[in-house]
């Protein structure tokens, strides 16, 4: 059980990558990328977890109480923000591609350019 959370993170990463490789739609591809990125949230948060630790918030909690790591949590926050902005950009690019090429199937796009 010790490594279950890490295993989940690794599994989600691989599943997302499989989706990216076999994707036939740019929107679907962007979502798969987002799934891949979700694995990093789970990995970061599970690395910082301590048995019996509470949230690193000390309002009404005595200082020195066992709590989880705050640094990986703030890194996860950064991760989420970047993921959202990248998603916005990718979707805008997908719209642009659809306007230019009339399709968002990556294979058809490759055929058009070749």
């Amino acid at each position: 059980m010790n490594f279950l959370a890490y295993g989940v993170a690794g599994w989600i990463c691989l599943v997302g990558l499989y989706g990216v490789i076999t994707s036939r739609n740019l929107i679907h591809l962007a979502l798969c990328l987002s799934v891949m990125q979700s694995s990093t949230y789970i990995l970061l948060l599970s690395i910082g977890y301590r048995h019996g630790g509470g949230a690193p918030i000390f309002k009404g909690v005595k200082l020195g109480t066992r709590s989880v790591d705050p640094i990986v949590q703030s890194l996860t926050l950064t991760d989420v923000v970047v993921s959202v902005t990248v998603m916005g950009l990718i979707l805008a690019l997908a719209l642009d591609v659809h306007k230019e090429a009339g399709s968002i199937d990556p294979d058809k796009l490759a055929e058009l350019s070749g």
Partner: protein, 248 residues
Amino acid sequence: MSDRHVVRGMIALPVLAGLGVLLFWGLSGLPPFGNYHGQYGHLINTIALPQRHTTNAVTAVVFDYRGFDTLGEEFILFAAVIGVVMLLREESSEGRSRPDEVTSDQLRLIGALAVGAIFVVGLWLIAFGFVTPGGGFQGGVVIAGAVLLVYLTQGHRPWRRFATEHALDPFEGLGVGTYVAVGLGAAIAGAPFLHNFLGPGKAGTLVSGGSMPFLNWGTAIEVAAANLVLYTEFLQHYLEPLGPKERG
């Protein structure tokens, strides 16, 4: 499935299997789940409250100990939104005739009620972001979500004249500008850029954390405005364009 996709899947599976073995091999070298003993996290948990009078250690990291990185992060958001605006600009409006009227009264009513509650939660997340769980990023997204819910349940059309990119852009600038101004304020006061130069205040209240509340609100405004610009751009791209009369 064309042959091409079968071939691609056949190539992908062994590659993924190999990558998976490497990944799990690496992950197995991590400290077992729940036994992490990172010194920095422990240090922040111990000193954030006495030093900065902040009860939320995560916010203390984001807006104080790692505040400079967060400035960079805000500019990532800022730049990405500019990128989206430029990509989606100057679209011809041909072929777009999707109406966005909401015909269900129940949906309108429930939506209106939910919007108020979500908006208040967003404000609470921002205002108390350095005391209880929350923060500018989280609260900003929730506020933007509340506005998106207005569009979804009341229709986007009535708001389109006001919630334009031109109306929202200044708020984005204001958010990032506040962050930089607080940083420069520290420099003017003779401390390093973005040093927490205001008095720490009373821990557990809104007047605590020194300059953190200002950075927090700046970030919240930036995040909410950035998200709203994104929504506005995509919605304008998608929905039926306004007639000349409606544009005013």
